[in-house]
């Protein structure tokens, strides 16, 4: 079927099977490889993208559901000033190790800060509950997010 949607601020029209996964469309058809597949069943959050500003697992979104939606991946988001703040905060706080979960966590962070620019510890934990990380033990990611909220005051 024909689907129209907005990807990283650009209108796209694609011809796809309506049950194909958004994850595959992004990775295979658009070569947006920041979107990772860690489990394929919505548990790990490595494939998180924003759909109309909300974090979703792209492995669980069938193509039919993106009609008319705005999809934002890290490739689109990384050009923004907010991204720069998240990047420098993650660098400073040591929030990154192997990096495979990182793109999903950056997108979850953006989704959190859009809704809640000054989150407390519990709100940060809650926002990341869908993103698994096996390297860091999470605390240094929390630190990175807190730092971003502080340094980016007024941006969100």
């Amino acid at each position: 079927m024909k689907i129209e949607f907005v990807l990283n601020e650009k209108k796209q029209v694609i011809q796809v099977d309506p049950v194909s996964r958004l994850l595959d469309i992004l990775r295979e058809d658009f070569e947006l490889t920041s979107v990772k597949e860690g489990c394929g069943e919505g548990e790990c959050g490595a494939c998180v993208v924003l759909m109309d500003g909300k974090a979703v697992n792209s492995c669980l979104i069938p193509a039919g559901n993106i009609e008319g939606r705005h999809i934002l991946t890290l490739e689109g988001f990384c050009k923004t000033e907010r991204y720069k703040i998240i990047e420098e905060s993650f660098l400073k706080a040591g929030s990154v190790q192997c990096g495979f979960c990182t793109p999903g966590i950056v997108m979850s962070t953006e989704s959190l800060l859009r809704e809640n620019p000054q989150p407390n510890d519990n709100e940060i934990r809650d926002a990341l509950s869908g993103n698994l990380c096996r390297c860091t033990g999470y605390n240094m990611i929390f630190e990175g997010i807190k730092l971003a909220a502080e340094r980016g005051k007024g941006l969100w």
Binding site: T33, E41, E43, E75, G94, G99, F100, R134, G137, N139
Partner: protein, 699 residues
């Protein structure tokens, strides 16, 4: 002014990972590439009677044992696992053949039409059955003092037994490997820790020399030992497939496949016979260690050795006998996993000491302190503790940070605090470093320096730390010091990225070479300095009797865990972990803290939520829905500090670090649970079901 080496700098690999530009193997495409999918055994132990293959559409291939030009075995410590099964299969998930082609849908269709007929045989599913049947891969023993005589000497004898479970690595990036045969050379690209292990395996399987093999590491999304020996298997499989098809071949596992067939942490049973004198001091100890190696021996002998050489933890028992056995079962092969056998034996040792103390009415920490190793004393293998042991300082610090002494007195029911003391042997076990003789090269090129090493970045921060050691020595900015691509055609073999050896051993060689380069800096614009590892002269090791210095030195630590138990559900809530480590000198405090935090949380998972049960050889947990690892909601506050204790032969005094934090978390939590419920904990994972059972027995 010169900054301290420990002062944190931003990780060099982080920007590309944060922006999503970092390309992992699954993000790479080769021109005309084919995909490969593995057909695996559905039986735990069986003969293969026949394989009926469908007619293949054009451009599709089946690759199996008959396509291997060289030896059909994966080279590792014991090269017993076939690359593709021959006449028999020995575990569920064992690779039999690959289906290779351009479209994944068609590959799945072909796989559904392959019919394999088996002749089932009687499998072995656990350690008890294996022991009964005498299915032993490896048996070792060693002793110290006169254990037999000591046990005859009127000591009070206490016997006990401890169990630990299977654990899956759950690196976030599943296994992935690609092969491209071109220009008469096999190029291998993939997610791995040990490119030269893969090269060795490929030499056997292809029957070629290293001049026709290039192994190139792609950005690796976590490993923890899971990408130590296992990638040798997939590298050989895709290589044979590329040779047969003439196309580049890409094989990426999905999570289910990864969990079903990759190596795991060895399940263990450790049995003790402790002999106590009149003052309740443990004078004699007999330890019997049993590991479930799974269906193939592989790397397990060395895992068992580390488990055995770490078996007395931080204590000195005058009379000791240690027996270790790897058992053969028809479970998925066990392999390398952070800590490499030591977490199992140290968990058991710590809980033995804890439970003995409780039984004797002595404070567990005081009882442990009475047995501590000191500098100059013999190690369990009759070597020597050569370097300063700062355990008293570590204990003082961790008890102060956690207010342990007050909490152990005042904690009520369902609320507990526990302490664990531990060490980790730095670098390869036994004579490993002398055998491998790691080599490094430093090359000055004008105003820049290139490091040539085979130690890989896999998330732990190796690239940052190794470059930092060189940059700091040469007083160059980080951007002037770079690493050569991890490509076996371009770098020397500095040994595998394992055993917490990268910073201490490889970093140590880089430090020596940098000092030489610094002296010779003005000689010319092109200078090459190399170094080959030499064991410190004073160390002795006999690999036949297991006598001497099993490790060049040790890193040390103490953890205090605080838990609350839900009185209804028996779920454990880990509230806080306080941790103090002596890893010599921290090379980068932030990177190191990341290792410690992450290691502790993996240990919390192993101790509490990570349940993996095979049922008749088939894992009941095979995805991230039923195999749970800690999430952001599960983790405690973690306070982590370091004590400086520079090691003469480590770069800037650094010792080993990456595995150490994993070792301490589980026994600290188990001790805290024991304190909260007044029950002895002897098994991990500590599931609610286990606690409810214990509760029944207590009543």
């Amino acid at each position: 002014m010169k900054d301290s080496i420990s002062k944190p700098i931003p990780r060099v690999d982080a920007p590309a990972k944060i922006s999503g530009e970092a390309k992992y193997i699954g993000d790479i495409r080769f021109k005309n590439q084919l995909f490969a999918k593995t057909v695996r055994s559905s039986r735990a132990k069986a003969g293969i009677v026949s394989i009926v293959k469908p007619e293949l559409p054009e451009g599709y291939f089946i690759v199996d044992k008959d396509d291997i030009p060289g030896i059909n075995r994966m080279r590792t410590v014991v090269s017993d696992q076939p690359i593709f099964a021959e006449e028999e299969v020995n575990y569920i998930g064992q690779p039999i053949l690959l289906v290779v082609g351009p479209e994944r849908e068609m590959i799945y269709d072909i796989i559904s039409k392959i019919k394999i007929k088996y002749r089932d045989e009687t499998p072995i599913f656990n350690l008890d059955e294996a022991e009964e049947k005498g299915a032993v891969f490896t048996e070792y023993s060693y002793s110290k003092g006169k254990p037999e005589a000591a046990f005859q000497d009127g000591l009070k004898i206490i016997e006990d037994e401890y169990h630990t479970g299977l654990q899956e690595h759950v690196y976030l990036e599943p296994q992935g490997m690609a092969a491209e045969y071109r220009d008469n050379t096999m190029f291998i690209y993939g997610s791995m820790q040990c490119p030269f292990y893969a090269e060795g395996a490929l030499k056997d399987v292809l029957g070629w020399g290293s001049d026709r093999i290039r192994v190139i590491q792609s950005i690796t999304g976590g490993a923890f030992g899971g990408k130590e020996e296992f990638p040798s298997l997939t590298a050989c499989q895709v290589a044979v497939a590329s040779l047969k098809t003439g196309h580049p071949v890409m094989m990426i596992y999905d999570r289910d496949e990864d969990i079903i067939c990759t190596t795991k942490r060895h399940p263990s049973i450790v049995c003790y016979k402790a002999g106590l004198d009149r003052k309740n001091q443990v004078i004699a100890l007999a330890i019997d260690i049993k590991f479930d190696a799974g269906a193939y021996s592989g790397i397990s002998p060395v895992v068992l050795q580390r488990g055995m050489f770490s078996a007395t933890g931080v204590y000195n028992f005058p009379h000791l006998s240690v027996r270790g056995r790897n058992f053969m079962t028809n479970n998925v092969p066990s392999g390398a996993y952070r800590g490499f056998g030591a977490p199992q034996t140290i968990f058991s040792m710590e809980m033995l000491m804890h439970n003995l103390a409780i039984k004797l009415g002595i404070d567990p920490l005081d009882y442990k302190i009475r047995h501590l190793l000191e500098r100059g004393e013999p190690t369990c293998t009759g070597g020597k503790i050569w370097d300063e042991v700062k355990l008293p300082e570590i204990i003082e610090k961790v008890t102060a940070m956690s207010d342990y002494r007050r909490k152990i007195q005042s904690n009520g029911k369902y609320k507990g605090v526990g302490v664990a003391l531990f060490l980790h042997g730095c670098g390869f076990t036994g004579n490993g470093e002398q055998l491998i003789k790691g080599k490094i090269i430093l090359k000055k090129n004008g105003g820049t320096v290139i490091l040539k090493v085979s130690s890989v970045e896999m998330g732990q921060g190796a690239e940052t730390c190794l470059r930092k050691i060189v940059a700091h020595t040469l007083l160059l900015p980080m951007e002037k010091v770079t690493c050569e691509t991890i490509d076996t055609g371009l770098i020397p073999d500095s040994g595998p990225t394992v055993a917490s050896r990268t910073t201490m051993i490889v970093g140590g060689l880089l430090r020596q070479a940098s000092l030489e380069l610094k002296d010779r800096w003005n000689e010319s614009d092109n200078i090459e300095v190399s170094r080959v590892y030499r064991h410190p002269d004073y160390l002795r090791w006999d690999n036949d009797t297991f006598h001497g210095d099993a490790y060049p030195t040790y890193s040390w630590g103490a953890n205090v865990a605080e838990v609350e138990i839900d009185p209804i559900t028996c779920e454990i809530d880990v509230k806080k972990v306080s941790a103090v480590y002596d890893v010599g000198t921290p090379i980068d405090e932030t990177t190191l803290t990341g290792q410690m935090q992450g290691g502790i949380v993996q240990g919390i998972g192993w101790a509490t939520v990570e349940v993996m049960n095979p049922s008749k050889g088939k894992l009941k947990q095979h995805n991230l829905t039923d195999y749970k690892i800690p999430t952001s909601m599960d983790i405690p506050e973690i306070a982590c500090e370091f004590i400086e204790n520079p090691y003469e032969f480590g770069p800037f005094g650094a010792k080993c670090a990456g595995e150490l934090p994993f070792v301490g978390a589980a026994p600290a939590i188990a001790a805290a649970v024991s304190n909260a419920l007044s029950v002895p904990i002897k098994n991990i994972p500590i599931t609610p079901e286990y606690l409810m059972e214990l509760d029944k027995h207590e009543d």
